[in-house]
């Protein structure tokens, strides 16, 4: 490598190739190291002592309590899925407490469910207790009584009624339809090819 009198740097072909190979090697080593680094290993082993503290715990959101057996209890979860979280999230208590970890309402409601269950109350009694405390709006679906029956059955009844009415109207229409000049029943059965061809023609007409 030489510097000429006009201060430009001259690199011979051999030097250029050597530098290229070195650069390629360095890049490959970097990539290999990076690939190894992405396969992150555990920073503490099971049962080897307390975990390290985070650099800035505030960034990780509201501090949480460790998960208990009651948190994963299927009966507790089933009850909580019927109760509406009152934080305004529109979710049930279970989904809210396991989704919106900034919410303080759903963990409190969960705690209340657990306390009532520990007192020996059944699922229905716990739900009834919540209804007494918060009103029926606490339920994810309204109870099937009183005006709520309209909520459950009006759409189905209307659809059934409309279906029956439609069937009757269709029956009347088909009876009063003008008789065809040509009999409706086929006078000859076509081969599948003929029928498919006909179908194609009809489709083309309707495009």
């Amino acid at each position: 490598m030489t510097r000429r009198h006009d201060a430009t740097l001259h690199v011979s072909r051999r030097e250029f190739l050597t530098l290229g190979v070195m650069g390629l090697g360095a890049t490959s080593w970097n990539v290999a190291t990076w690939r190894r680094a992405t396969l992150q290993g555990p920073d503490s082993l099971p049962g080897t002592g307390p975990s390290g503290r985070l650099w800035d715990p505030a960034r990780a959101g509201r501090p949480l309590e460790p998960v208990t057996a009651a948190d994963n209890d299927a009966v507790i979860q089933a009850i909580e899925k019927q109760l509406h979280c009152t934080c305004g999230c529109n979710l049930d208590v279970y989904t809210c407490r396991t989704t919106d970890f900034t919410c303080a309402v759903s963990p409190a409601m969960h705690q209340h469910v657990v306390e009532l269950a520990e007192q020996g109350m059944t699922g229905q009694l716990i739900i009834d207790q919540f209804v007494r405390e918060h009103g029926v709006a606490i339920l994810m679906a309204p109870p099937k009584r009183g005006f709520n029956l309209a909520g459950y059955f009006v759409p189905s009844l209307l659809i059934v009624a409309a279906g029956v009415a439609l069937a009757l109207v269709l029956r009347r229409w088909t009876r009063t339809a003008a008789p065809d000049a040509v009999p409706a029943r086929p006078v000859a059965a076509g081969t599948p090819e003929e029928l498919e061809r006909l179908r194609g023609e009809l489709d083309r007409l309707s495009v």
Partner: protein
């Protein structure tokens, strides 16, 4: 004159949009909207989408897109429909004028200036900083807005008393376009909810989700029933009512989204402009239906239904179900208000209520998706029905038997998959018969015959592709019946297990937590090693993000970023809840969601089918079909 007014409106609104984007990209925080929805460190991608992230910007976006669509409709509509165009220009201008009035007089001016200039803006809601939210809102808006064009043509037809089937031909592409945008927008919304909100699902029957579904249902009903009007000259009243109803439902959707009258996860969009929409909705409904009623005598059917066992009748029942489901969703959405008004009791109407009402209706609709194409137009005979139904029914029954033998006992899931088998049987039979006929008639290879079959009758076979996409969606929805979830708090090195519905066991080992700064957020990332039945699958990362502005000040509450490992069978869905006592001991929720990818595949296939249906060209039409053509083809009971 009216035409030029629409073009001028379009030009002026485009200038307004460019100006707002300019202010967003220039970080002109003196503009209230810019300060409220962006910050200096917001990625460019999301700075662009801030245009429709807030109320005021989305109203401007809506009015602008409407004026663009209106201009395109005026330019692209063939000349023989030109008598309708002045009315179309009038209706589009009226609707656009409403949106502009809300901006100007309803306190929703996106160019409102602040009395001071903040150093930085508040930034964009973290939930909106997701690629899904860049595309989901505009797609839905495009769907909602483009319904205005068919609506404008319907009103034009009513006003001009040109109520033949001709105006339907003019709006065919617009209705398909609108339906396609709505379909894509809804699917993107589901995807966004799944990957961003972290609750482990994609559809929660939230009022705003319901609001997007309502016009989609009525538009889908219209796309079916319009075929009867085109082929037979029937259902004119019904089709007009569906178009008007769809447009009103799109305005209703905006009212629900904007008013906050019903509590929703979309609370970031609420404001008092909702009541302007309520007024507009009532006024538009009254005006449209009054006009409709005065024209009823002109909307008589040109032919009569010949048999209750016909394609026309099956489409009528299909329409009944579409509209019935739309009513059921609307009823459930509004029932809390109704209950409070009638009996003074506040109630909550959540997913259990909607599922109870809509799953049986959805299954009935799925059955009709398979039944409809098997029944001939005009009249079907018993031998024809036997021949048409044999293969699809066998496929459906065999599917049910296989699932029963495999141990599936969830009734609705079983029915969804079995009916899916039936519909797929129908679609495959239709394609197979068509391809075989081409093969025999023209000597084409089967692949070429299939391709040409599709290319020459895009509307029919594209429709079957949409049906296939819907089957895939229903099967994927059924998969959620087998969702499993558990919570665990893990120290680094500790593991938790969760059993998959397929029988294998996932083991998740907490590797540790790292904290670092990214462009506009402070990240706390937990990494887990995942293995299935002892075989290592890789690592998953889930994050807590504290978003900050350009000065490093926190802007929103910390949000969770989900870690998802997907394959065709199921998703492993991991959420970092937080940490215990500031240590690396972290609380996780692990969920296994079966068949989720099939929701996205189903959505893509529906969109693909929709594109095929509306793609221009196809077979040369020897003669444009007119309503009620009176051809009687002897011996042609074959399904057409």
């Amino acid at each position: 004159m009216g035409r030029h007014a629409v073009f001028a409106l379009c030009g002026a609104l485009l200038v307004a949009v460019v100006s707002l984007e300019w202010a967003l990209f220039q970080h002109d925080f003196n503009v209230e909207y810019v300060a409220a929805y962006t910050s200096r460190n917001l990625p460019i991608f999301y700075t662009w989408s801030a245009l429709y992230a807030g109320q005021k910007g989305s109203l401007l976006f809506w009015a602008t897109v409407l004026s663009v669509f209106g201009s395109l409709a005026l330019v692209l509509t063939p000349r023989h429909h030109r008598e309708l165009l002045p009315y179309v220009a009038g209706v589009v201008s009226l609707v656009a004028a409403f949106f502009i009035s809300v901006m100007l007089f309803g306190g929703a001016n996106p160019f409102q200036r602040l009395p001071y200039t903040p150093l930085d803006g508040s930034g964009l809601n973290p939930q909106l900083q997701n690629p899904g939210m860049v595309f989901h809102p505009p797609m839905l808006y495009l769907g909602y807005i483009s319904i205005t064009i068919p609506f404008a043509f319907a009103i034009a037809a009513l006003l001009s008393k040109r109520l033949d089937t001709d105006w339907l031909v003019a709006i065919r592409k617009w209705t398909l376009l609108s339906w396609l945008f709505l379909s894509i927008g809804i699917c993107l919304g589901m995807w966004w909810a799944y990957v961003e909100l972290g609750w482990g699902g994609y559809w929660a029957w939230d009022p705003v989700e319901n609001a997007s579904l309502l016009p989609w249902l009525t538009m889908t009903a219209f796309l079916h029933s319009v075929m009867i009007q085109e082929k037979r000259g029937m259902l004119k009243k019904w089709n007009l009512a569906l178009i008007i109803g769809s447009w009103l439902l799109s305005i209703f959707g905006t009212f629900i989204t904007r008013s906050g009258v019903i509590s929703s996860v979309h609370s970031f969009t609420q404001s008092n402009v909702g009541y302007f929409f309520l007024f507009f909705l009532v006024a538009a409904a009254a005006a449209s239906f009054s006009l409709y009623v005065t024209r009823l005598p002109l909307l008589m059917a040109e032919t009569r239904l010949e048999s209750i066992v016909s394609r026309e009748a099956s489409f009528l029942f299909n329409n009944l179900l579409f509209v019935g489901i739309a009513f059921s969703v609307l009823w459930g959405t509004l029932f809390p208000i109704l209950s409070e008004l009638v009996v003074g009791t506040k109630i909550t109407v959540g997913p259990p209520f909607f599922n109870q009402l809509n799953i049986p209706l959805g299954l009935a609709l799925l059955a009709l998706t398979g039944i409809g194409p098997l029944i001939a137009w005009r009249r079907a005979s018993i031998p024809n029905l036997q021949r048409q139904f044999a293969v699809p029914t066998t496929v459906g029954v065999f599917t049910a038997l296989i699932l029963l033998v495999a141990g599936m006992r969830d009734f609705y899931a079983l029915m969804a998959i079995a009916l899916g088998g039936f519909v797929v049987g129908t679609v495959v039979q239709e394609f197979a018969r068509g391809a075989r006929a081409r093969h025999r008639q023209y000597g084409e290879g089967y692949a070429l015959a299939l391709g040409r079959l599709l290319a020459r009758n895009r509307r029919r076979y594209g429709g079957y592709i949409v049906h296939t996409g819907m089957v895939i969606l229903f099967v994927a929805f059924a998969g959620m019946a087998f969702k499993t979830e558990t919570e665990a708090s893990l120290r680094p090195g500790e593991s938790a297990s969760i059993k998959s519905p397929y029988g294998w066991t996932y083991r998740l080992t907490h590797l540790g937590i790292s904290q670092y700064d990214a462009l506009n957020r402070q990240v706390t990332a937990a990494t887990l090693e995942v293995s299935r039945d002892g075989k290592r699958l890789g690592v998953l990362t889930t994050e807590k993000r504290q978003h900050v502005d350009g000065l490093g000040r926190p802007t929103f509450q910390p949000s969770s970023e989900v870690g998802i490992r997907s394959d065709l069978r199921e998703d492993l869905y991991v959420v970092l809840g937080g940490v215990v006592n500031g240590t690396e001991q972290a609380v996780f929720r692990f969920t296994i969601n079966p068949l989720v990818w099939w929701v996205w595949y189903g959505g893509m296939i529906v969109a693909l089918g929709g594109l095929i249906v509306m793609w221009p060209g196809g077979a040369p039409a020897a003669k444009r079909a007119q309503a009620g053509y009176a051809v009687r083809l002897v011996g042609t009971e074959e399904n057409t």
